[in-house]
Symmetry: D2
Subunit: 353 residues, 4 copies
């Protein structure tokens, strides 16, 4: 931690600060420039609180040096984490394809979707049972009745299933029916929910909040990890910016950045990150080329009658085009992935020696 102090600080104020730091058993290194004083502090991070130090008179800035996430950090865990869900490996050489309807709407709709997704080579079936909606007057998801439909359709076609959990109570309700719990962007900082998910033994796909920083995103992962569940899958689903032509802005930069600083897999969600069918295919491919461990896309048998998010759902033939384009780059993407994984793990390991 570095403390920047204005030279107009009085002697007694400065002494007060120094004795506070010493009380906390911090090792202190002072450097005095013409306008400012710098204090380098080494010591027990838990005892030293940035927010407390900044309240001392004359202190202008407190700059933390060590990242606050630990278990999520690549430095602590150079090898990429690979999460197995049935036969599917998330985080390995092969990118993972997740697809399915925004919401489960009927037994027929999800069976029809599962059949088509299996046929198209999808690895994991998505389907919302509980839906967070901005308006209390909108469709809120089919609810518990849909859980066996989703599970059975997936099982029949050999597809593990992923579905969003919105409340602590639903963790148990959903347990027997889903293979991966999804935490939506709006719940990225619903810390109690994260903690409870950290106590389960199922993989959690954690979506980045629309205004979450890299650090906040990884600290939310840390909430789950610190409870003992190390099967966390990150998901970039677009951030909110001034841009008006797309619903959100896909932060493509964060994909390789996550790979640098964390060992957790990261999935790209172009449906939410663009909000427009005509941008989904190119951004899916871009996400994978940038290093994403897979994609999740919304596909509906008939988007005209979808009960949620029609604008961003592909129909079956549009999804077939995505798969067709993906196959063009698939092989080179996998060569690239194998190469990158080695490079990053080597770099990270060397930093531990």
């Amino acid at each position: 931690m570095i403390i920047v102090v204005n030279n107009n600080i009085s002697d007694s104020e400065y002494k007060e600060l120094i004795s506070y730091l010493k009380e906390k058993k911090a090792e202190i290194h002072e450097v005095r420039g013409v306008e400012k004083r710098i204090i380098g502090v080494i010591g027990n991070k838990h005892k030293l609180d940035k927010d407390a130090i900044i309240t001392f008179e004359g202190v202008e800035k407190v700059i933390p040096i060590i990242e606050s996430y630990k278990i999520a950090s690549r430095q602590m865990h150079p090898q990429a984490t690979i999460i197995e869900v049935g036969k599917v490996k998330i985080g390995g050489i092969q990118p993972v394809k997740m697809a399915g309807p925004c919401s489960v709407e009927s037994e027929e709709q999800i069976w029809q979707s599962a059949e088509e997704m299996a046929k198209q080579g999808v690895d994991i079936l998505r389907g919302g049972i509980f839906k967070p909606r901005s308006s209390p007057y909108s469709f809120q998801g089919i609810g518990e009745i849909g859980l066996p439909w989703l599970r059975d359709a997936g099982k029949h076609y050999g597809l593990p299933v992923i579905s969003e959990v919105m409340q602590i109570k639903q963790i148990e309700d959903m347990y027997d029916y889903v293979d991966i719990y999804q935490v939506g962007a709006r719940n990225m900082q619903n810390f109690k929910l994260l903690e409870e998910l950290g106590k389960t033994d199922k993989p959690i796909m954690l979506k980045r909040g629309i205004a979450a920083t890299l650090n906040e995103f990884l600290m939310s992962a840390e909430y789950i990890l610190s409870q003992g569940n190390n099967k966390v899958i990150l998901c970039e689903r677009g951030i909110r910016t001034f841009v008006e032509f797309s619903r959100n802005t896909l932060d493509i930069n964060i994909i390789p950045m996550i790979k640098n600083v964390s060992h957790l897999p990261i999935i790209v969600d172009p449906s939410h990150a663009t909000g427009r069918r005509d941008l989904i295919i190119p951004t899916t491919l871009a996400g994978l080329t940038a290093g994403a461990d897979g994609f999740i896309v919304e596909v509906h048998p008939n988007p005209h009658v979808a009960l949620s998010d029609g604008a961003q759902q592909l129909n079956f033939s549009q999804f077939a085009k995505l798969i067709e384009d993906y196959k063009i780059i698939e092989n080179s993407v996998e060569i690239l992935r194998a190469k990158k994984m080695k490079e990053i793990e080597k770099d990270a390991s060397s930093s531990l020696q």
Copy 2:
């Protein structure tokens, strides 16, 4: 609702769209320009889904005309809502002063704070019991043990109390101890929590999410209102922007905007909106001049040892300066408020005739 259609649509595609709309019992008005066709649609909003219509071939845009919030709307309720908490009126001529520590840390600390706040003329005592923190390794609030401390200190000094609720379970736990439930920015779209709060009879202060639009903010209020609880207090606490010198950017524009479109009171929170002690006083005054119905500010007996958010907590003498400056403008702000309230109510009423 207005539908913009590209003129390259085929006749059969166009017919498909029109018959879909007619099926929904919509009244249709078609206008054909050189490049685009416009369809004006009047009808049952609940049956017409923007997201479904956009999935039809050739449809470029669907533009809703009517706002989606209803109970929160000024048009439906021209008179300003005034919420009474004990003797305090929120939303009336006199702005309301809420202050107290970020977190309740000990019985002594909250009693000391309550005494001072009462002395300084504060109307409502704030104090966090459960704290949402970005890091699982940070202080998470004193927890239930602090509830009676907060209530008793408030009661002794005649101050109603406000405290944050993070989970459905806590609604009941806190019921006997708080006068106003606060919903934090991170929970603005925790819809189940909002629904449950809508079933209580206590006022709810709903903080705007750091990336929430005006519409999303009011739709979250609508979640509470639509359950029957009409005591909703809005709170602007800063939004996340590219700006780096302040923790957030106070969106001062939203204060008069809320007054135009809604009858609900709105409070300004300069502690979070700036994140810096040196900006709190001027932005508090600015918020009130712009029309806010009160302010909420974090004050701590000794910010050096605060367990959370020290950087933005005022100490007692700094808070005394805020009150001193506030008194300079108090009278003119109240004259302004009385004048504005009449103007807005008159405008809104006339639009109902």
Copy 3:
């Protein structure tokens, strides 16, 4: 300057960095933690380039400690700068009222405006002659022919005039006709234009770019100041954010922040910061209460037929309401200003001792 180095750096790489710094005559202080090494560097800022140092292997961050603006800095110049334009003082106790049409459109229109503005107590008359427009097909301003109209109308009613300069060539063309040159938000980083304006002897009102940081804003002021022209007036006119109900977001926080770090006056521009007539009055008052040295507002005799920016121009009776509301707070704002000026100057002076 602080350099954070990863401990995985090799000995030879570290030596290379240290010898680079020593070559630059920097004084070096090394602190070694478990994961990172910190190097505190004191020395000639001009010789040490952040961007060069970060290119060394193992360097993770380079953190500058001293602000890069100098002449604009409050620390170097504790007294507030007051700029005199005729009898008007910008930056003193009395806030300054600037108003007039977005564009000068005809001789009659600007004379009519000048007459009304003078009657309403405005201090400075605004009027665009050259207009930067997003579209090449929009009205681009009346051009040179309007310059004498603006000057003569202003002179007749005793109002100094301000008008935007877009190109180096126009500096000379406008010299005899305007009292203050305005630099628009789009030109905030048109550095050659700023340099040339720095060689004139007239006041410059520099508008903040829609995505400019505090530092970039003050560094642009520094371009003018460093050429010898110390009459720089800053102007906050809203930033671009995700917010959709207003054209821009007025960054109210920057007003007191500028007062802390700089001695230059700052004007608030609610017309551009909101883009909506119904938000102009409350945000004008808020800006002044937050400490702005004045406001600039667009007023047009008949906004229906305005050739630019009609949506945000007030008509004469709407502007009269602004003045009416302003008078309610005028006196208390001036008391507040006098108090604040003393406090800030005292703080800044003490830091020089």
Copy 4:
């Protein structure tokens, strides 16, 4: 154009609006709902000004239907524009590789760079002669003396050159020395500069401003195109967002979006869009996969001693890794491009029939 009117409008106000529209020879279609009235307007866009109409009492919104850019529009020009610079084709099947130092610093440095870039298969050599810098105290570019160095080095190694133009005066000075003029992000709305560049016969690479919308970006292209120069190359170089780990956020969504709405080529600039060497390679590849017509990357023989932007410049061996990774995906990217070009042109042509 669609006008939304509040039903609280008085009859006389409504008549005033309608007669204004009729005066402008607009064809009017009125639709009356319960709360609002909608007026569909067809007619001469040039005569109808959105900003004027919104000033009428009762008008709530004016929604333009037709895009404001014309010459830049894909609808007017379904075939992709291919710009030839010597033997290089920008916008064709093969993506274009532009690279070189941020600034030309010496004759030796640019010759060394040119030699290496040619060896690595680069198509176009970049090198800044005039540099826009946030600080007046930073290196401002080598200036005119560097122009022949850049041209001669390029010529010797068979590389056309691109360099930034900051002022109208420099257009002529640079004319004999550069093959492509670059307009920097800060000058994207320096409209007079754009107009003058529109009168030259050389290709212009126009960088998107850090806070520019899609429409503003294309309207700036329109400034050049409308003067007769149709050789406009767009460049996405990152936008300013709340994200703090990268200097900017690469808006990957805009790449396929531009392809949909415009025929102009678009280049991706990962150096500025990330500001970090460790993110350049994956984002370059992602940009190309998303459909960019090429990339521009900063490469310096020795970034340690670079006079500008060291942090984001690759050294020669880092650039060799970029080329190595690019070669892995090159073939599949070209297959994808050929496929996409056909699809988009077919779609756009059909819309003209």
